[in-house]
């Protein structure tokens, strides 16, 4: 088992991958470490959200992903 990190939208290009598996559990410090410098820089911006297990975190620095959970990195959206 592991934690799956999902890179959405433009973060997919920055990360060079759609997803990555890392060992769980995963907290905010661990996330910043695993995603590489370029993604970490964007993650520190307020407009990038983080979801864990299908819930958007109101405070992403409180991330606490367990083994088997999905962590999604959500840059600014644009639909329609």
């Amino acid at each position: 088992m592991a934690v799956t990190i999902i890179f959405l939208g433009p973060l997919r290009d920055v990360a060079g991958a759609e997803s990555r598996e890392v060992p769980g559990p995963l907290d905010w410090a661990g996330l910043l470490e695993h995603v590489g410098e370029a993604v970490a820089e964007q993650l520190n911006e307020a407009r990038v959200n983080v979801a864990c297990g299908g819930k958007v975190l109101s405070d992403k620095t409180q991330l606490n992903a367990k083994d088997g959970e999905e962590v999604a990195l959500l840059p600014p959206v644009s639909g329609g």
Binding site: G53, S78, G79
Partner: protein
Amino acid sequence: MDDIRLVTGLLDPNQAVDNLAVAASDAGGIATFIGKVRASGVEALELSHYELLTLPSMEALASHAHARFDLMGLVMLHRVGELAPGEPIVCVAAAARHRRDAIEAVDFCMDHLKSAAWFWKREKRGGEWQWIEPRAADHTDLARWSEKSGPV
């Protein structure tokens, strides 16, 4: 009758809106908005979404629209994947007893789908893909409903 869906193949707005008209036969009016890839300009458009959030967020948006407007039915279809010029991207339709509820519900849903729903869009021009962020106007439009500006 609500019809809230992510669509992977070609989106057929007429079919969905006709079904709404039949289901909401006591509605006095049906308002519709169809957003399309412009026929000229881009070579392709790609819409990506996030399985665990996108459809649930559209369903939440539909609930908000029902709470806010007096609706007899709501259609909200959004394409994902790669789209060719001219193809419909999104179709929102609302049936209501009175026309202003129908028109405003469509307006409300479109503003939220544009800049507050979990979609990411990129365009291909001259062979190069480029990610698109919402225009400033989209954020202004959303603010009219004076709600939190984050995605639903």
